[in-house]
Symmetry: C2
Subunit: 876 residues, 2 copies
């Protein structure tokens, strides 16, 4: 009870904040939910005036006007209508279908409405109701009409035909909206469409599984015609990703337009289940089918009468079979999609072997079916009474890889198509091609600026680390005369002979293999391949069960960490420092910025750190067998990711680098997690205030859509591999080294993230250093850090992490303690994946602070719920 009262006023304030958010930004950030209990299709067209509305009308007649369709309901939505009221596709459909029902003598209850319009359109439509001096906003037109063709003793099928937004000018919606006022935000439009979809059809009692409902959403103009805000319609509707029918062009030149429109849809991740063209005697369907390799059926409609006085009744009769087949294809595709979505969790459990997953703990019911992603959000398929698709914010950034918002994702998709078409993959060594060169140049001018001169490409963080270790050890060998030592009794200058010598002497191999160790930090994680594993301290990941060959080739130090608790940033020192007496200003900070100040180098703590490191280094070389050498320092700058989102005291890391420089030990920064704005700066080395000799990048480097890694190095490192023999070169490589698609994605993303025109989060503060603005609401962060269930909080850049207060038995990587909280968050639209009892929310470098705040608010709310449940459990 105390707990609850204590938090009451705060919660109240937060809920207000949440409501406020919902009111003002709900359209952008609230969770979309799309019912799947009946088919919903979007009708696209490759150009204007190709007959989209005729196709919608034909489909509705085919669905509703049959002897057996008594309880059926067809919803037609026209989100954007221009040329209104003289043009109104929803009225056309409403009227034609009424006429067809009379003509065919079949009952029908049809209604027609127009919800909103610009003021000119409203005045033109209802001159008496709307006056000239109203606001230039969309007017609630609220027009409704209905018709009934009934049959005694029989329920009539129902047509609902609606226009959502209408403008008067017969122009593209973006021009009409500009000229007539009535701007409509993309998110508002999408949200309203979602609402109409839910209200217009489903709640009316259409029975699930009986295919009694059918919905079409008809676009305006061509697939890439702009909507009212200027956003292309294919982008505008993308969060909904309805399957579609494309109305193509049967005229001369129409093959090209139809194929291009189809490709624009594919380039946005849409599925197209059928193409429909009008017969113009050019058999355009033949090349279309050949292009489509029969994967998508092409329907041909009879020539459409051009005489405006023709009521089209005969044409609809003639087209009846085509529309019946089209409708059947659409129903089949819907059923097939549902069948597949429903079987996916079970099949996944049967055939996948998921990484880092105990399959026994994952029953099909807990498997997440991801239908697509759009920017930061997953679209997830769910069944709870009804089938639907809902959004989840990807708060684990899909293992910390994600960067794109929806706009960048579309750009990257086009670039991926381009790179695959231009290059596929081409051989890298001794060759050059544009994406690899551009990517290398951008890396050297960005994260490598001021120190690196070479880029070594590989596939992932783990391989990048193995390469880095090889580089470092070679440099150390040449700096410390390890090789000449080897050759003492066998004076030879030739590399080949040296190799032969080494190979022939098994003892030397073994001796040499145990020569080098790394200096590294406990809690670090550098990847899963054996070489990378050897560079990290023993942990749950390195046991014999996991890594049969692991020995841990390193001196592993326990690092001091920094975190926020009760609103304060504090250093937490490992045991070795506990005897030291520190001034309070050395171990607590007034702000996070203070932690990174270079002036801390003058503090007592700096001296303590330095002394400790140099002692450890000299002790190690004395204690271990004669031959062991620390050949490299390797660490994740600032944040240890997989180790539990710990912020290592940057001062300590700086002192480590200084000491190693002093001993001519090459320094490796593992920036696989920290690089590319993850921590609010392009490279975490900027926060640390010192540069490495070698650094590894991956994950966010490509924006998060394709694997690629880079190991960057100084000239001095590179030089230790040059010589006359190929055997002295670095003989390490992967087939897809510097593959064109990866380099293309990286080049695009690197530029995108740091350009203030494309990334609104970029700020150039004081020293002209580029930073991301603060993404996490400061007050909210402080409040969470003061929550009784939270033992520490770390926020930096795109990362917000908290550790749940837990008993020792509930802590650690394998802990299931956070499970219920994770479940609550997923139900509230946040996809998180815990690290034991550490929960984190991660966004992309371009994610708006408002979207971040919304996630934090949700997290706070669920944290309260979680705490209440845990408290109750303890009381019971």
């Amino acid at each position: 009870m105390l707990l609850r009262r204590h938090h009451h006023h705060r919660l109240f304030r937060l809920r207000l904040l949440l409501l406020h958010h919902h009111h003002h930004q709900s359209q952008s950030f609230s969770t979309l939910t799309i019912p799947l209990s009946h088919p919903t299709y979007i009708i696209w067209s490759s150009n204007t005036s190709l007959g989209k509305t005729l196709v919608s009308t034909g489909l509705s007649s085919s669905f509703l006007l049959s002897p057996s369709s008594s309880s059926k309901k067809f919803l037609y939505l026209k989100p954007l209508q221009t040329g209104f009221p003289s043009d109104s596709d929803s009225r056309f459909l409403f009227q034609k279908l009424s006429s067809l029902s009379l003509r065919r003598n079949l009952p029908l209850f049809s209604s027609h409405s127009v919800l909103l319009s610009s003021l000119p359109a409203a005045k033109s439509f209802k001159p008496n109701e709307f006056s000239l001096n109203e606001l230039r906003e969309m007017c609630e037109l609220g027009f409704y009409e209905e018709k009934k063709v009934l049959e005694a003793g029989r329920v009539a099928p129902e047509l609902v035909s609606e226009t959502i937004y209408a403008w008067e000018g017969a122009l593209s919606p973006h021009l009409a909206a500009e000229r007539e006022g009535g701007a409509v935000e993309d998110s508002e439009l999408v949200k309203r469409l979602e609402t109409r979809l839910k209200e217009g059809l489903l709640e009316g009692g259409v029975e699930r599984g009986k295919l009694d409902g059918f919905c079409v959403v008809e676009t305006a103009g061509g697939v890439a015609s702009p909507g009212p805000s200027g956003t292309l319609q294919c982008d505008l509707y993308r969060p909904l990703r309805f399957p579609g029918v494309l109305v193509g062009d049967g005229r001369l030149g129409g093959i090209s337009g139809t194929i291009s429109a189809y490709e624009s849809l594919k380039l946005r991740g849409y599925d197209v289940v059928a193409i429909v063209i009008e017969d113009h005697g050019l058999i355009n369907e033949i090349p279309l089918k050949s292009y489509l390799r029969s994967r998508v059926p092409v329907f041909v409609l009879p020539p459409i009468p051009q005489d405006p006085s023709n009521d089209l009744m005969e044409w609809f009769d003639e087209s009846c079979n085509v529309f019946n087949s089209l409708k059947d294809i659409m129903l089949e595709a819907y059923l097939e999609r549902m069948r597949r979505l429903n079987e996916m969790p079970r099949k996944a459990g049967d055939v996948f072997w998921w990484p880092f997953t105990q399959h026994k703990l994952v029953p099909p019911s807990t498997v997440t079916v991801i239908d697509s992603r759009c920017g930061e959000n997953f679209s997830v398929y769910k069944v709870q009474n009804k089938e639907y698709i809902t959004q989840q914010f990807d708060a684990c950034a899909s293992w910390w890889t994600q960067g794109p918002d929806a706009t960048l994702q579309t750009e990257l998709a086009r670039d991926m198509g381009y790179a695959a078409a231009r290059f596929g993959h081409v051989m890298f060594p001794e060759n050059v091609y544009e994406p690899a060169l551009e990517c290398a140049e951008l890396l050297l001018d960005g994260v490598g600026k001021g120190w690196a001169t070479r880029v070594y490409f590989s596939d992932n963080g783990s391989t990048a680390i193995e390469i880095a270790l090889k580089m470092a050890f070679r440099k150390f060998s040449s700096d410390h005369g390890i090789l000449p030592e080897l050759l003492k009794n066998n004076p030879t200058e030739s590399c080949t002979e040296l190799m032969d010598l080494i190979l022939s002497e098994t003892k030397i191999v073994t001796k040499m293999a145990s020569l080098f160790q790394v200096l590294a930090l406990k809690g670090s994680y550098h990847g899963d391949t054996l070489g990378a594993m050897e560079a990290q301290a023993p942990s749950s990941f390195t046991g014999f069960l996991q890594q049969p060959w692991y020995t841990g080739r390193g001196l592993f130090l326990d690092p001091p960490t920094v975190f926020m608790h009760n609103g304060k940033w504090t250093v937490s020192l490992p045991e070795v420092f506990h005897s030291a007496t520190l001034k309070p200003e050395d171990s607590t900070f007034r702000s996070r910025d203070e932690i990174f100040l270079k002036s801390r180098d003058e503090s007592n703590l700096a001296g303590l750190y330095s002394l400790y490191v140099s002692q450890q280094l000299s002790q190690h070389s004395t204690l271990s067998e004669t031959n062991k050498q620390i050949g490299a320092l390797i660490m994740e700058p600032i944040i240890q990711g997989a180790g539990g989102m710990h912020m290592v005291d940057p001062l300590f890391q700086r002192m480590l680098v200084n000491e190693c420089r002093h001993c001519r030990i090459p320094v490796i920064f593992d920036e696989v997690f920290t690089g590319f704005w993850r921590l609010g700066v392009e490279s975490a080395a900027e926060l640390l205030g010192c540069v490495p000799d070698i650094a590894c990048f991956a994950k966010l480097m490509t924006g998060g859509i394709i694997p690629l890694a880079a190991t960057m190095a100084t000239d001095a490192i590179f030089d230790s591999f040059t010589g006359d023999s190929k055997l002295k070169a670095l003989l390490h490589g992967h087939s897809y080294s510097a593959h064109a698609m990866g380099c293309t994605a990286a080049a695009k993303s690197i530029k995108w993230f740091k350009d203030p025109n494309t990334n609104l989060n970029i700020t150039s503060e004081k020293s002209q250093k580029m930073l991301l603005r603060e993404l996490w609401d400061a007050e909210l962060v402080q409040q969470i850090s003061s929550h009784p269930s939270v033992s520490r909080v770390v926020t930096l850049g795109t990362l917000f992490a908290l550790e749940l207060q837990a008993d020792e038995s509930d802590a650690g990587y394998a802990s299931l303690y956070a499970r219920s909280l994770v479940q609550m968050l997923r139900e509230d639209g946040i996809y998180t994946r815990p690290l034991g009892n550490v929960i984190y929310v991660m966004c992309g470098p371009c994610t708006s602070p408002k979207m971040c705040t919304l996630q934090l608010l949700k997290l706070y709310t669920k944290l309260e719920e979680f705490t209440l449940v845990k408290t109750k459990m303890n009381i019971n």
Copy 2:
């Protein structure tokens, strides 16, 4: 001399064969060369009748009709003209430009020609020359006209305006060609265009570097309108990949069509330097510029007079500034491209760190600039007197990854765009999404059929191998009671406690780490990360200089190999077997098929192999320290790739598997190189006639465009990781596990390669087992194997390899012996990369046997040259 005479008759026959090939297939297989000494642009349009020819005309007038353009030459090519002779874009341009030169009082020498036409078009054009009963082929129309507007004492600039193919019907070329006869093969069209480009402009003495030449190639209809064969024009012209100008649509709905056309071009790897639209008062340029983010300029032409009697002279005057700017943009883009192409080799040498490359041996002059790839061919930029782009057959299959022909490449490009747009990358563990599931299902139904039940995704062959080793060792531990042994003094059932125990006891860690070894073959190669390296025998790749931590944790056996020499397949036994007496039929084969016969299991040799393996296994366990165990067998089935393209005797490998099964040692097949039709079957296990417990796939799995790997396993392997604790799960994973683009590419390629409709090389022989047909001309292979410079040949599936006869000092990985041969091949259009003194040519699973034969013929010819040079050198 003896050598030369001996080969004379053979060479003669081969040259005939080569000529024959050149005559009949030259269009498909001969090397295209595109001059770059002046700009060449292709004019695209988003639909018909949008003014492509007006743009071409405006450009030519802007280029030629200025006071300073005396020595300039403009080449206009219209490859496909329909509606001829009443429509003729080349004549329109010719006439308009002549009129403009008169109007502007500027000199011009212009010519116009029409090269070929269908018979109806020819008859219509020259009724007296062509009769009804000629062949239904394209007629040599050979029409030529010229006009001169001269000025005394001044050289007139020159316009060359040409139509290459013309048809009478005002239809799409594919329909016209069908109706009028005169089918034109794509390759013929492209070849003729290449020839016209070279002859029409350059040889005429246009001076290099002075921008005196300019060429445009104007397409017909829209970007994706079919050419005469039905191939879409954007695909048809793809091997040439000219930069382009897109004539878009300024009308209502035109934004969409323009954007879609632009995307179709990007999806085929084209660059577009400018978009041009006609002003229709709808300011379509604004949304276009916004979409393009100002990366591509958009030009707006004044409204085009619709009155047919208007001679457009005033319109051209009005448009003059627009065309001047457009021309300037095109010249700048050309210069920028040339600048970049020229600087690339030096820049590459400055910033890249190429894998497996001794940079000191790679001066800029030897760097290959790859401008693009199309199917099996690179387009390579070269400067030899003039700048040009030429094709090279990618005979190293870009490190054995490549599979796509041009058609599959385009399909994959669209799929990559789709997958990136639909998914980007999404989190894999505990989730399911379509591409990952489909890919896993296809793998289990294909390469895993009959044995595998689980798919573990990772990024490359090396990581797949590390995962496989972890799987195998766990299985071995559980089968052989290794874990209970460990727990003898510490009885505990909990996995966590076990982990704690292991972690706390450093001695145990070290002891355990040296417990497991692999059984493997000398010459094997399993990847470059440390774990994979540990599983291979000492080699140039594993020395201390390369792998400081390598020890070689295995029992490495010397395998018997098989190869062809002097036309005969023979077994070569390692030393241990030299004392054995073998029947001739045991060691030589009448055909390659005999090598794989299961009946060989009954031979003496089978017994010898078996005995040897079992002896080695038992000796090893006796001799080595008590604790060492062979925990896994790992091998590349049939062909050892990086080790030098050695075919291991499949009988020996089968016996190895049998013996290991007997000892309950898990069997790993490393099919990273051999999988997916590389060896003519989907999985090399089919050739071996036995299945593994674990197998690794990568490289060709995605068709060769994107990295992805799979480790597949049986249920029994999987089961050894299930339990109650997460710590018992396989804790290995990479950020991009099962990334959507990789899985999409794999799913598409797996289906494409095995479908006889898409892969014409697929045959279903006898036992209904699917095979690739023989790709390498049998006679030619035999002849090469008998060449005095060749010590052995191996061909299988997509692989042809030969080892050059060399002294020991010239053999091995670091040998530069083959360098001059490699250089000759590259100059002849074959991009090879040797493995020391081993040369190989590798194609894709869909490559036509004819294309393969052409490469072999070239190889044979260059081999003769190489031999002559070497012989001369020896004589001297």
